[in-house]
């Protein structure tokens, strides 16, 4: 039976952040997940907090932390350090972010012609964070025949002032918005062209030199570059060779480029996942995708092993701790039963949830958020799961990410910040015991544990 100091269940932002921090603390970590997670769907920025009425993420965090049931009540204080830590990890892997907690939340134009408020974005999207000057134009430019990005529709929608938000400074939008459609080499007649395909084209230095030339010429011809401004492109400027592709785009195009994230598969999300995965592997952490966890065994309030489904014979990993990063309702970390109960399927942890008759809101777009969104696991200040009476259920389990109760991550836009801060905190909760070498650990409580540890001492 293999042995890990900590098993992280779930390979999303929260799980990977926890795993990287644990590996940094010297723990042997294994990430197990039934499949790829929300990283592959999201826009690739870091949404820390953008509740209505907050000008900056920092103020948003403060506001949310004041609600004592919100995860930020526990996590708010540690967030800045966790964020700085993860950003430096990602920067080492070639993925840099711009913007910070104290920076204003800006209206960022999106690929469906709306805006969303954000403050921390990867380099390739960061030009959208700069406040628009009154003379500046926005050119929305995409390849012909690409079904996920329609420059004319995007531009038409963005020309409506209401899109830029009533709270925003009315001046803080482009003076003029144009659309340009460009024929890019080799794409004519292609069916099923996705952002991912396009990104792989941009990974090819020769193809992208040609493509960027064509885009530059099209912008020149339209005269849109006069007076300066920025150009929005579909988020597909390379995957494996993204940094070089974006540098070239910045150099060759007559306007400052920024990427607009598309529908899934999300290329910026894939870049984020690739960087997280590389960082974990660099630290000796392991990751197994496609091995769904079937059960987690525990003795006397301590988890002892994690069992994964295999072709035959379950695969069992003996462990000293578990980070539960299985997501909320959308991720499968919580499951709604037909009898009106929400359950946590792996450990049957107590779920804090509204009663079934309150699951549905009268207004699905209620600014207060959906009632079911706040469902999750209640924890102590070390992220250990609590029962209804406030007693710790399992000593060596940490709950992270959207499985934490009390957040409305869609309207509060706090999902990434909660994931990063909780992942970081989970590592400090579970690492102290794990970071000491196997031989020098304190005597285990349960006899069965002792056997496991001696075995562990003989491995490797």
């Amino acid at each position: 039976m293999p042995q890990a100091d900590v098993v992280v269940v779930g390979a999303g932002l929260a799980g990977m952040t926890a795993a990287i921090a644990l590996a940094d603390a010297g723990a042997r970590v294994e990430v197990v997940a039934r499949g790829h997670a929300a990283t592959h769907w999201t826009a690739g920025g870091i949404d820390v907090a953008a509740p209505r009425g907050s000008e900056t993420s920092a103020k948003g965090v403060k506001r949310l932390a004041r609600q004592d049931r919100h995860p930020y009540a526990i996590l708010g204080e540690g967030l800045p350090a966790a964020l700085t830590g993860l950003r430096s990890v990602l920067a080492t892997e070639g993925l840099d972010f711009h913007g910070d907690l104290a920076d204003p939340l800006c209206a960022i134009p999106t690929a469906i012609g709306g805006t969303r408020r954000a403050a921390i974005l990867p380099t390739a999207q960061a030009n959208a964070l700069v406040q628009w000057q009154s003379s500046e134009r926005l050119v929305v430019c995409g390849p012909a025949g690409f079904k996920d990005f329609w420059p004319d529709a995007i531009a038409a929608s963005l020309r409506r002032p209401a899109v830029w938000g009533s709270e925003a400074d009315p001046d803080a939008s482009p003076s003029r918005i144009d659309a340009i459609v460009v024929e890019l080499p080799g794409l004519a007649g292609r069916h099923n062209l996705s952002g991912l395909d396009l990104a792989r084209f941009f990974d090819d230095p020769r193809w992208r030199a040609d493509a960027l030339e064509r885009i530059a010429r099209a912008v020149d011809r339209s005269g849109a570059q006069r007076g300066g401004g920025r150009i929005a492109l579909p988020a597909a400027l390379g995957l494996a060779d993204h940094a070089a592709a974006f540098d070239e785009a910045s150099r060759i195009l007559p306007l400052a480029p920024f990427e607009m994230p598309l529908v899934s598969p999300s290329v910026p999300g894939l870049r984020l996942y690739a960087a997280l995965r590389a960082a974990l592997r660099r630290r000796g952490g392991r990751i197994a995708i496609g091995e769904p966890v079937e059960g987690i065994a525990f003795e006397k309030r301590r988890v002892t092993s994690v069992t994964m489904a295999a072709a035959v014979r379950d695969r069992v990993i003996r462990t000293e701790g578990v980070v539960l990063a299985t997501g909320g309702i959308a991720g499968g970390g919580l499951i709604g039963r037909s009898d009106g109960r929400l359950v946590e399927p792996l450990l049957d942890l107590p779920v804090e949830a509204p009663p079934a008759e309150n699951w549905l809101a009268a207004d699905p777009f209620d600014p207060a958020g959906h009632p079911l969104e706040a469902a999750g696991i209640r924890t102590d200040s070390s992220l250990r799961p609590l029962d209804a009476k406030g007693k710790v259920v399992l000593e060596n389990v940490a709950i992270v990410g959207s499985l934490l109760a009390g957040q409305h991550y869609l309207v509060e836009r706090c999902g990434d910040g909660v994931a990063i801060a909780s992942g970081h905190l989970a590592a400090t909760t579970l690492a102290p015991k794990a970071s000491v070498s196997v031989e020098s650990r304190r005597a285990p409580a349960a006899a069965k544990d002792t056997v496991g540890r001696q075995r562990a001492g003989t491995r490797r």
Partner: protein, 448 residues
């Protein structure tokens, strides 16, 4: 099985209905090694769960089985290599690869199989003929003119990696008494395992099985080698389910009794053992006592050894091998869901620096990369892996699966070993006086 039954199965079976869980998130497409390199395959989602909706719609009432749509709405499903990564990464547990394989089989059902595809499914027949005529067969299969002719006539790419036939099969080397394994001389299951050698070890690489036998002997296990035929996977991959079922029944008939008596069935081919473990049930719909008994008793050789180690029973007296060893985990290994046991075992060998190359697929995917129209795709799929191996500049690499080894050897000119060969070598190194240098050890592969 009638055509209608196949269509029904492909749509209504557990595999077919898992399409209903598809979120259309496209995560499978991001992980597809084939879609990454070619426009000819739109990606697993499109030919899998997306097309499945049409297959479901056309066979559901009111049309019913009287008007079945016999073909997949998207013929490009034939470009799926069957590596299985789509199923691995799917967050919603959709059986995408299995769905695609069944769709391909139902597309081909009712037609006479293409000679080439039929031939690639006959690994045992080809192996037997090849060994009989080994000098001639090896010469002609590695002669450029012959290969060009074969490509022209049969459709097997002239550059595709074909292995060398052994002069003698494993079975004939082991001798008749061992082969028959008469019950009265068999050691009990605590002291013996059953070897499923597969076609590769029997016809091409007997030294791999011999290394396994030696390592097992060192750990107190005799090896029983009962009657067996090809596991059937090459037939499954080429859409020849009925013929594969015949092979499966022969193997089950021979192995089930051992399994029931408590013997473990160990194999050196990850794809054969995965077929015994899972594909008889998942792909061929065999669901009887024999299938279950054999499935539950089957082990990959490294999985078996690591389990011994976890029980504290593995002889860890490995000698030094001072070398860097790039390691590629084959796609079929992931289907086992057993982690990467070879890497855990390599960690026990002093001096050995095994590197997980962390690449999805070498491209060949069994017989896929041999086909004329798919060879370039297969090479492009594996290219990042080949580059990593070339850059590692190591004397050898390691990989559990035979077709992957042949593909990587061809593409990189680096010898690629089965992990069990490395372990056997490490034991041998321990037995020799301490003159260990990596150069001397490289020559020491047993069975050669």
């Amino acid at each position: 099985m009638t055509i209608q039954e196949i269509v029904h199965e492909a749509t209504f079976g557990e595999v077919g209905l898992s399409a209903d869980e598809c979120l259309k998130c496209n995560v499978c497409t991001t992980a597809c090694p084939v879609a990454r390199v070619t426009d000819l395959f739109p990606g697993p989602k499109y030919v899998g769960p997306q097309a499945q909706r049409f297959r479901l719609a056309t066979t559901l009432p009111p049309q019913g089985a009287s008007t079945p749509h016999l073909t997949s709405p998207d013929a490009t499903v034939d470009y799926c290599s069957g590596c299985g990564w789509c199923t691995t990464v799917c967050p919603a547990d959709v059986k995408i690869a299995e769905m695609n394989n069944r769709a391909r089989a139902s597309m081909k059902a009712g037609h006479r199989p293409r000679f080439r595809d039929w031939l690639l499914g006959q690994t045992d027949l080809v192996g037997r003929l090849g060994v009989l005529t080994a000098p001639l067969a090896n010469w002609s299969l590695h002669n450029r003119l012959f290969r060009w002719l074969i490509e022209l006539v049969v459709g097997i790419h002239r550059l595709a990696p074909l292995p060398m036939f052994a002069r003698r099969t494993l079975r004939s080397r082991l001798g008749a008494d061992r082969r028959r394994g008469a019950a009265d001389v068999e050691p009990p299951p605590e002291r013996a395992v059953v070897l499923f050698h597969g076609c590769a070890a029997n016809y091409y690489e007997p030294h791999v099985a011999l290394a396994a036998i030696e390592v097992l002997r060192r750990n107190g296990y005799e090896t029983i080698v009962p009657e067996q035929v090809c596991c059937g996977l090459p037939r499954i991959s080429n859409g020849l389910y009925e013929s594969a079922r015949g092979r499966a029944r022969t193997n089950l008939g021979s192995l089930a009794d051992y399994a029931r008596r408590g013997y473990r069935i160990v194999g050196t081919s990850t794809s054969c053992t995965h077929t015994l473990k899972a594909e008889y049930r998942e792909m061929l719909d065999l669901d009887d006592d024999d299938t279950r008994a054999v499935s539950g008793a089957t082990w990959d050789i490294c999985e078996f050894l690591l389990d011994l180690h976890d029980q504290g029973r593995l002889d860890t007296g490995f000698g030094r091998i001072d070398a860097t060893l790039p390691y590629h985990a084959p796609c079929q290994l992931r289907g086992h869901g057993i982690g990467l046991p070879a890497l855990d075992l390599f960690a026990l060998v002093p001096g050995l620096d095994a590197i997980d190359l962390d690449h999805d697929c070498c491209g060949v995917a069994g017989t896929y990369g041999l086909k004329k129209e798919k060879y370039d795709i297969a090479m492009a799929v594996g290219e990042p892996l080949f580059r990593k191996i070339r850059e590692a500049d190591a004397p050898r690499a390691a990989c559990d699966s035979e077709t992957c080894r042949w593909q990587i050897e061809l593409a990189t000119s680096t010898p690629v070993k089965h992990p069990i060969e490395i372990l056997a070598e490490a034991y041998a190194a321990a037995d020799r006086p301490a003159v260990a240098s990596s150069g001397a050890l490289a020559e020491a592969t047993p069975g050669r």
